[in-house]
């Protein structure tokens, strides 16, 4: 099961999906585009725990976290 984690006021919302299910994958890609289009940043981490940003939907990503746009405080 792959997971998209979206930070929000509840702490976070997790969307689990089966990457082998074509419809679920399509929904996940749509969610990715909607979130990044709304200003969210998407990030993944590799096996060593290093984080990197992703600009386009990666169907192989096990876990993607989304956080809202950064602003100066």
């Amino acid at each position: 099961m792959a997971t998209q984690i979206v930070m929000d006021q509840s702490g976070d919302t997790r969307h689990h999906f089966d990457a082998k299910d074509v419809k679920a994958l399509s929904d996940a890609e749509r969610r990715f585009k909607a979130l990044t289009g709304a200003g969210f940043t998407a990030a993944v981490r590799n096996a060593n725990g290093e984080v990197s940003l992703v600009r386009s939907f990666d169907p192989n990503a096990e876990e993607t976290v989304f956080f809202p746009r950064l602003v100066g405080g």
Partner: protein, 146 residues
């Protein structure tokens, strides 16, 4: 007669006020419990994404250090939701503060994770939006992790 009226008036006024105070206290407790639940979720997510060293630091001092991907500089992310990132010098002393946060009124764990990802994966962009602030200069033995 007068005493009876006074007692009745006191009952009519005091009891509703007492109930109102109790309701407000219950609402405050409920809000606090809600916030603590959200904060706990944020801390759980943060800990899932920290490196083993960062997790050990966070569990000990509620802060952890990251290295900027572009400059190689070290930053300490402290528990909080604003003005909680400080740049460290080679001796681990805070030199300057950087304030940048994700929008949306997030809990501390979420804010800290967003700051970690931003500094480790896109430091320049994070600093471009950040505002600098002065940090108190502490003696080095107090400002470094034990």
């Amino acid at each position: 007669m007068a005493i009876g009226l006074l007692k009745m008036a006191a009952t009519c006024v005091v009891r509703p006020i007492h109930h109102l105070i109790r309701l407000v206290q219950l609402a405050q407790s409920w809000r606090q419990a809600q916030y603590e639940g959200r904060a706990a979720r944020g801390n759980t997510l943060l800990r899932e994404w920290l490196s083993p060293e960062q997790k050990a630091q966070f569990d000990t001092i509620k802060s952890f250090d990251v290295v900027g991907c572009n400059t190689g500089k070290s930053y300490r992310i402290q528990y909080g939701v604003s003005a909680n990132v400080v740049e460290l010098d080679d001796a681990g002393r805070p030199t300057i503060g950087w304030c940048f946060v994700p929008t949306g009124n997030l809990v501390p764990g979420d804010v800290m994770l967003a700051q970690k990802i931003a500094l480790e994966a896109d430091e320049r962009r994070a600093l471009a939006v950040a505002r600098q602030f002065l940090v108190p200069q502490l003696p080095s033995r107090l400002s470094t992790v034990p």
